[in-house]
Every structure is written in C-alpha cells, then in structure tokens.
Symmetry: C2
Subunit: 334 residues, 2 copies
Amino acid sequence: MAVTMNDVARAAGVSLKTVSNVINNYEFIRPTTKQRVLNAIDELGYETNLTARSLRSGKTSMLGLVLADLSIPYYAELASDIMKAAWDRGYRVLVEQSGNEADHEKAALQGQFRSLTDGLLFIPLALDAEQIIEAAGNKPLVLLGEFVEDPRLDMVLIQNHSAAAAVTTHLLAGGRRRIAVLGANDGDTTGSNGLRLSGYQAALAAAGVEYDPALVVGCDWRRDGGADATARLLDSGVAFDAVFGLNDALALGALHELLVRGKKVPDDVAVAGFDDIDEARFASPSLTTVAPGRTEIAERAVELLINRIEAKGSISDVQQPEAAFSLRVRQSAP
Amino acid sequence: MAVTMNDVARAAGVSLKTVSNVINNYEFIRPTTKQRVLNAIDELGYETNLTARSLRSGKTSMLGLVLADLSIPYYAELASDIMKAAWDRGYRVLVEQSGNEADHEKAALQGQFRSLTDGLLFIPLALDAEQIIEAAGNKPLVLLGEFVEDPRLDMVLIQNHSAAAAVTTHLLAGGRRRIAVLGANDGDTTGSNGLRLSGYQAALAAAGVEYDPALVVGCDWRRDGGADATARLLDSGVAFDAVFGLNDALALGALHELLVRGKKVPDDVAVAGFDDIDEARFASPSLTTVAPGRTEIAERAVELLINRIEAKGSISDVQQPEAAFSLRVRQSAP
DNA sequence: ACTGGTGGATACATCGTTGCAGATGAGGCC
DNA sequence: GGCCTCATCTGCAACGATGTATCCACCAGT
C-alpha cells in the first residue's frame, strides 16, 4: 500500500541502500544519482516510515512530557514553549496528563509511555524524589523544578524562594503589613509551596514584620481554590491588606472573590500572584505577579534533556540550571 | 540492553510466540504456562516495545491533533479533553502546533507527522476545505468544525449560528440595542467568524433591530486583539451598549479595556463571549458566554475518528455530528 | 484401532528501515 | 603494468514484535 524505499529504489534503478543513503545525506553520492533518487521519491510520493526507522535506530525522536493537566494555563503555556523548543531541535513532544495522581505519574515514568520516547520531561506533583528515582528507569529524565528538588536529579530550577521574596518585598514596599498567603500551610518547607512560603517569611523578617500563621491558608492551586480560601479568610475575620497567591490561578481566584465581596483592589487589598500566565495581564485589575522565566525554563529543559539523550556515553555531573525571574508590577498591587 | 520477548521466552522455557500470545490475551493458553510467562515478565521487567509492534501491525495507536497553539486557553482545554477521551479508548495524542500558518498546517497534514499517527484531528485555521482535501492523504481525518465546513469532510460541528444568535438574543433581552461585535468584518459569511456574525444578524433581525456595520470590528482572536478593537471603537465615538466577543479571549480583552477606560460593566456596557473557557467564570465581572459543548466535541471527534480508523473497510457516508451548546449567563451581561 | 476435532504450543516469514562489511571501478603513482 | 586509494554503491543481517501455517497431543466417536 504505502510506498517504501524498495519501490523508490526500483524506480530510480539503484539499490535500496542507496535510497537510504540519499535520505540520510550520506556524503559520497554522485550528484546525478542523488537527483535520480530524489526525483523518484517525488514522483512516487515516498515518505519515510518513522516507525521502522525508530525500530532500527532505537531512537524515536520524541520527548515525553508529563504534567498534571493541559487545561491549567501555566502548564499549557509551558507545554507550548517546550514543543516549540523541541521542534527546533528535531524532536516532537508526546504529552501525558497525570491528573496530579501518583499512580498516573508512576505509570508515565515506568510504563509503555517511556518506550515511545527518548527521554522524559517531568513536572512531578504527587511523587517525591525518592519515588521518582525508584520508578524512573535508565531513560534520560529532566525535572521541571516545580515541587521536587533533589541533588541526584537533573532539573531546571525555578527561583521559588527569591521570587516569592521579591513579591513579598514589593507588597511590603507598598505599605502592606498583613499579607495573606494562599496555597501553603504553616510549616511547609519543601516543594514549591514550602519554598515560596519561606521566601515570603524571609522577606517579612528582613522588613521586621512579624509572621502570622493565621494568614497562611492551604488550598488547591486552582482558581476556585483561591476563591474558596479567600472566602474563608474573609469569613474568619482575620485582618489582611494584601493577598499573595502562590500561583496566578490562586491569585485570580482571590481577586474574583474579593471583588464579589465588595473589596476594592488594590485600595482595600492588594493582590499578587506567581507565574505570569497570559491571563494575568488582562485580568481586571491586571495582576501583579512574578514571571519565573517560562520560556527559558522550557528551552533549558529541552536542551538539557536532548544533551543527555545524544551524549549517552559521557557520564557527567547532575545539572540544575536556574531560570531568571522578573517581577511584573501591575494594577492589583502597584 | 532492553529485555525482549526472546529473553522472556527463554526464561519461561517457551517459544517467543507464546509470550506474544500471553501478552495479547490469546485464548488458548494453559493457565500454568501463562503464569510462568507472566512471572518471567515480572522478573525481567519486560516491557512491550511499542515501536516494533507498530511496525509489524501497521498501527501506532496515536492520534494526531493539529491546532494553532496550546497557549490559547480554548485549545488547551479542548486538547485536554481530547487526550482524556483518546486515553479511554487506548489511544494517545500527539499534538502539533501550526501557529495558524498555512505551511505548517499543510506540513502536518502531509508530512512525516502523519506516518506517526493512525488518524488526524484537525482544527483548520489557515487552510480552506479545498486545500485540506488536496493535502490530506487517505489517512482518516476529522475536523473540529471551527472554521471550515464542507460536505465532503468528516467533522464535529459547533452550532456557530444558533449559539451566536442565542447570545445576541440574550443581550437584546437585557435591553441592549447597540451591540458591537469583535472578531468579524462586515460581510463575512464563512468560517466561525462569518457564521457567528450571521447568527448575530439573524437575532437582530428577529428582534427588529437594525444592523449597523460600524459596530462590527475585525481583529485577531486574542485578548489583545479584543482590547485593541475595543479601544478603537471607543476612540471612534460610535455609541454601543454591549460588546459581543466572538470568542472569550476577545470578550475578556474587551472587558479589560472597558474597565481601564472607566466604563462600568455591565451598567454602561454589557459584555458577552463565546467558548466558556475556565477563565470566563473567574473574570471580574464574570463573563457571560456560550459553552459550545467542548467535552462533547472532544468525545464525538475522538469517537468518530477511531471508528474511521478501525472500520477501514466499510465506506460509509460523511458524518457531521453537531454538539449542543448552552448559554452561561453571568455578571457581565445578566 | 482408526479417524477427526480441538486445545495448546511452535517455526518462519515479515513489517521498512539502518549499520556494517564488502564489492566495484576509475585514477594516481611508482 | 601492477598496485593502492578512495569515491561510490551494494547486499545482508539485524531491530522486536505479530500473522499464518503447522504440528503435536489427546480425547471422543464409531
């Protein structure tokens, strides 16, 4: 049915291997021969069977990307950047949604998904470093440093601590003293939640402002999580003049709830987030947030992973590049 | 390096084919033999090589999904739903971003991308029906009826006309008479823009309200497109008491711009959109919009495509199921 | 005892490529 | 003229699975 190299070879009057050589840009081919083959390819409409190539060469030229859900804007935007970066280097990306469930994450690391890809980009949410190391085979693996940090694993780091401190410092500079935090629980020290919380605490300490655990509210990192948490906070009567959502979804949920409840933003309460998703710019009021360097993260991660894949032999040290962040001051916290 | 069926066969003391039979749940295998094989698989940590299976069987169990860009929320949410629907039926989804460029779309339809998938889901933006038919090979293809409609192609339809009419009717019922439209140009009749515009016009006509081309502003279907268009409208001095963004991004951009300019929404100007992306619920004020049945679209499309793939032989008529829509009345246009 | 049917297992070819080793032939050099 | 070199091309054997055909027991039926 499909045209194969054999057909092309016959049509061009050369051997199958020569066709293969032409396609793979083998150096020593007479220009006339090459042209003859190319013509035949054109005429027959031949297309390389990537499956066969993969089987023979042992490479699929696909990267796996494991994340919670594409419907979450930050992941969608990150995935888009990753796919572009991969494309530029001749790789495609196969996305697997884990739904933030440990089973799915494990399955993605171990399962058949792996055999389809040359390496994995992984945004762990449910698994910890130990489980990841155990579950991951010998396939190249690069983490996107959202939640897990571990010296044994390649990963691209977000400056969770510093960036959160920068946001907090900005709010403090605006005169805010009672800054609520959404998305972490008092005492968290690991993961994005813990690291961002500690950045917040450090900034408070540096400014000589007391830390009040009552201002720290844990919840799902989604818009409705932020809205609910804000509602609880308002209902509880705890006073606050700013809200720091540990990601933009939380902040946007909080923003929504505050406005619904008749609070003025930023006059009564300032709001800031983390991620700088596209939506933040167009919220009303627009959302002050910190850009963690999404495009840089995507490119570094893809580059690191592809280096691992293509330099299989050389065992080099674990790499953990860190992406630069930048504060985006907008209306919600000027 | 990797464990193959051969290794398992040797370990279990059976033939390679028996291992294959066990894995593929062949009926007639002695339970003891089966157990022996399963044990060996477990011990050796064998995993099916999907590439080899694909080569031999001619199926990749992957669906291609061609869309403009995952960073656009509606596509991201749709992609997420599609991946879930496909997963349930044992297929994976390989996403290709066309960036809304004709070349990329064509390449996706023709190129190597196709050889990796059993069939394609395609959200055409740049190509028209003629070009699609020409470029598409004999691979199963299902369009997501955003922009292109054609009786020769399988597709899942959105009720562009009726849904847009419903939104317009709702705005009219709220007492609005000067409803601006963002995202179409006067005279458009095809594509989502044209169909939605004609729905708008039909609703106006039904209510006996005159159609004013000055209220129709074409622009990119993105947040900043909507913001810019709204700015131009305001600057031009054309009076309007409602804005209908032909998708939510446009409406949210408009919302943003209106609030920036000091307009009260919905008091001065009502705003409505189209798509019901997650963000719409949490905008401030929350956005009135119409849900085109995203999940249903995803499921129908996946189902239709898989039916085509698996029932290759039977040539049946072109199918064009239509998804049900529903109006979501929120604060921006109560 | 012989035939036929069936459960249970196997051998071999094959999918479409690429890696490796080798064949061919035209010059160049002594 | 013979030998070596090197560009150019070819043939064969994989990669790891599955489809087809076949084979071997073993039991039922006559």
